[in-house]
Symmetry: C2
Amino acid sequence: MSFNKLANGKYDLVADWKALERIFISPENEATRKTLVKYMEQILFGLHDFLKANVGITEEASLMELSDWFKDSTINKNPTRKLADVIKGIIKDIAPHAVNVASPYFIGHMTSAIPFFMVHLHTIVAALNQNVVKLETSKIVSIFERQVLAKIHRLIFKFDKDFYNLHIQNPDSTLGSFVEDGTLANLTAMWVVRNTALKKKDNFDGVEKQGINAAYKAYNINRCVILVSQLAHYSLRKAGGVLGIGNENIIKIPMDHENKLDIIKLKEIIHSFDNQTKILAVIGIAGATETGSVDPLNEIAEICSKHNIHFHVDAAWGGPTLLSEKYNYKLSGIEKANSVTIDGHKQFYMPMSCGMVYFRDSKIMDSIAYHSAYVNRPGSVDLGIRSLVGSRAATSLVLGSALDIMGSRGYGLLINHGIDTAKEFANELKKRKLFQIATEPQLNIITYRIFPESLKQKWNESSHEQKKDINNTINDINITVQRLQREAGKSFVSRTTLYKENLSQVVLRSVIMNPMTDINIIIEVLNEQEELYKTNFDF
Amino acid sequence: MSFNKLANGKYDLVADWKALERIFISPENEATRKTLVKYMEQILFGLHDFLKANVGITEEASLMELSDWFKDSTINKNPTRKLADVIKGIIKDIAPHAVNVASPYFIGHMTSAIPFFMVHLHTIVAALNQNVVKLETSKIVSIFERQVLAKIHRLIFKFDKDFYNLHIQNPDSTLGSFVEDGTLANLTAMWVVRNTALKKKDNFDGVEKQGINAAYKAYNINRCVILVSQLAHYSLRKAGGVLGIGNENIIKIPMDHENKLDIIKLKEIIHSFDNQTKILAVIGIAGATETGSVDPLNEIAEICSKHNIHFHVDAAWGGPTLLSEKYNYKLSGIEKANSVTIDGHKQFYMPMSCGMVYFRDSKIMDSIAYHSAYVNRPGSVDLGIRSLVGSRAATSLVLGSALDIMGSRGYGLLINHGIDTAKEFANELKKRKLFQIATEPQLNIITYRIFPESLKQKWNESSHEQKKDINNTINDINITVQRLQREAGKSFVSRTTLYKENLSQVVLRSVIMNPMTDINIIIEVLNEQEELYKTNFDF
C-alpha cells in the first residue's frame, strides 16, 4: 500500500496506518486524482485493446501450465503489489489467458460482448456500495429498485397502469426479486411454489416451519412433482434437490418434433398421478439453454389454469425477446404465467451476474418472508424480507439505467439481429453438404452437426443397431472438430448432446448475441470447421 | 444512445444500428476515449465529493416523497438518457438520498467505507466479464479463483504446504465456493451437511435425488435438527426452511452470561434427542451479527468430534479477525470446524457482495455436484459443478488482488483499529451515567442503551412485573432517540432487541469498521444521544 524507495531503486511495500488512511479518504490533491483516473483508463482500454488485438479466444498455454502459476496458498504479511501493478498484471498475465467472450467469433455460450457503458454503470454500483437488504443501507436505491422491478414485471405480465400505481411503491407488495443468477431465480420460484402449495392449515404450521416430512403428513401425500420440458435447465433439478422434494421428482415431459414440450404427453402425465402426488408446478421454457426453443406457453397456461397448477416460465434466456416488436410474438402466453425467471447478464447485456424472478401475484412472496431483530422488521420497506439472498449489490441501478440508455428499441435491434442472423446461419448450413441442422433456430440459438455425405447414404440403409455405430462415428468427428477449433484459438462454438431417434447425438451449438457477429463471421467459422474435418477425417 | 440536435437546441435520442455498433466496439478515436475516461472520473470523484460534503447519512426527504419520484412502470421505446445524463442524475438525484455508508459517523451496520482501489478492482471484473461457472468462459480466472480459495482455506484451517500442493489445482478437490453472500454460504454449508448425513445407502439413492420424505424413511428418523446459538443469524433458520427440514428444527441453545452458546446446555440438548432425530450440525458463531460475540469454538469442536456431528462456524463477520496477529486468538478453535462461512463484503472491505463457504474435507462438496450436457461435464475443472449458483462474476479477482495490495498486516491494522476502538467506546460509556452497556465488545461490535439514573434506582427496588414496566419505558426512550438521531442525519447507530433477564431489551448497536471512526467521533455520537434524550425525555 505504501512504499519506500530502497537503495537498489526498488520499492519496499509496507502496510502502515498512514497508508491505510490514504486509501480510505477521498484524494485531495490533483496528482492523486489523476493517477486514480489513469488506472481507470488502463482498465477500460488496456483490457479492451488486448481483446481487439487477439480476436481469438485464448492464447496458447495449457491448463497445466497455467495451473502452475497459481499454486501459492499463503497470504503475504506485507503488501506485495500496488494497484498499478495489479492492473498491469491483469492486463499482461491474466487477460491473455482469459476467455475473450467479447469476440464476435465467440459464439458458443450465452456470454458475449457488453456495451461499454455497462462497465461505467457497474462501477457506479461499487462506488455507492449500497446494500439493498435493508432501507437503512440503501434508502433511495431500494425505491429505485422497486421501479425497475415494476418495469420488467409490466413488460412480462402487461397489467394496466392502475395495477402498477397500486403496487409499485407499496411495501406490502412484492412484484419480484433480484438474485445472483437464473439458477437462484428458479430456486426462488420453486421455493415460493412449494411453500404456497404446502402452506399452513389446521394444526399444521406450513412446510417452511415444519419441513417436508410433516407437510406430506398434513396434506396426506407422499410426493411432490414439478413437470418440465426435457430441455429444462439443470438448475430446476437442482432446485428440486435443494428444496427437499428430490430431484427425481422434477419430471421431464417428452418433446414434440420441434423440441417443444409435448402438450398431449403433458396432459397424460398430469392425469397419471394418484391423489398422493401433488403437482407443484409446470415449467415452460422460453429459450432453452441448448436449443433456444420455446415451449407452447399458451397451451401450458390453459392446462395449468384448468388444473389449478402454478405455471412458471424459465425465460432466463429468452425474456428480453419481449422488447422486440418484430419477435415478441414468439413468447406469446408468457403473460399468463404465475412466475417468470429472467436474466440480466444474458440478453439485457449486463455484466455478470444478475438474475431476477417475477410473480403475477404481488402477495405470493409472503410465503418466504423472514424477519430479524436488527433489520427487516415487519411492515418495513426492506427488500431483504422476501428474498433468498441477504446482503446484495444494487444491480438494479445498472438495469434501470441501461433501459433508459437503450430504450426498448435499442434492445429490440439486438434481439432482431440475433434471430435474423441465426436464420441466415441455418440457410448457410443448408447450402453445405457436410452439415446437418439438429434444431432450427426458434430464437437466436442453432444446433447442427458435421454429418459427411458418405455417412448420410449409409445411414438411410441402416438398421437401428448400425445407426448407433454411425452415430458414434459422427459424435467422435464433432467432438474432435469442436475441440480442435477451440484449441486453434480463433473461433468457439460449444457442443452439447441431444437425444433424438433414441440416440445421443453430439451437436455443435451457436448462440448469436454479439451484434458484431454477422454472416461473414459465421461463414469463416464454418469454413474452418470444414477444413478441420477434411484434414483430420476425410478418409 | 445516438442523438440528433433538434431545432429547439435539445437532443432527440434514437436507437439505431450505427449507435449500437458504437457502444460495442472499443472506441478508436482519442476524443471518445477521453469522454469515457471523464465519465469514470465523475463516477469516482463526483460521488465521493458528494459524500465528503455530506457527512451525515442522508439529506432530508421523506420516503413518501422519494417514492413519488419512482412510479413509472413503462420502458420507453426510445432512449431517454445518455450515459452522461445517467451519471449526472445519479450524482445529483440518487447519491444525496442514498445512504452514506462511507461516513465515519455511520456506525450502525456492517457496511462501511471501502478502500478506493476496491472500485477499480470491481471495474476490472466487469471489463473482463468472465463467467466462472465454466472454464470455457473464464479459463485462467477459474484457476486464479482456486488459488484465492486455497489462501482463505489455509487462513482458516491451517493445513500444511503438502495439503495445498495436493488440492490447490486438483479438479477433483473443492476447498470452498464463492456465492452471493453469507446467507447463501450458510445455505450451501447446510445443503452439503444434509446431503452427507442422508446420503445413498442400500436401496436409497440419497436425499438430493429422492427427497426428505424418502430419506427419513430410509434412515428411520422423523426429524433432522441443527443446533445454533440464540444469536445465530436468521439465514440459518432460512436455510432450514429452504432445505425442507423445517426452520423450527433450527434449535436455539441458550447463551451464557457472555452471550456465548452455553456448552452445558448444548450437551444436555444433544443427549435429549431420541434415535428418531438426527443432529445434522452444531453451528458456532464467530462474530454474532447483533453483538459480535464469539461462541466457545474449541469446546463445541470437542463435543462435535465426540458425537461425530458436523461443526459449522458462521464467521461471516468475524472471519478476517484471523488476519490480526493481535486478535486472531479470539477465533481459536475455528481451525477445527468442518465448514466455515466468511464474507468478503464485510471485513475484507470488498464492495457488495461476496460470500464464501469453506470445507475442511476437499471431497464433501461432491454431495451437491450437478452436471449438464452443455457445460460442467464430469471430470472437468468447471467451478459450477459444485456450487449453489450457476453464472457468476469473477469476484475472486477482487479478493485475490486486495490480499496482495493490503497484505495480512494491512487487514490486521483495520481489525485492530475496530476492536481497540470498540473497547474505548465501552470505556466512554462507563464514564457516562446515562448509559448502560448491554454487551461488552468481544470483537468490534458493542450494544448499549440509554438507562437514566432515576430509573436505575427504581429498577433495583422493583419486582419483575415492575421491571417490565420500567423496561418498556427504557425501550421507548431508546427507540425514540435512535430514530431522532437517524433523522437528524449526522450520525447513525442501529438498534436491535436482546432477551435478557426475561425481558425484551431494546439496545443501540454500533459496529466499528471504518478506520476513520475514532473515539472523538464516538464522543460526538454519544453527546448527540444525550442531547436528544435531555430534550425529549428529561422529565
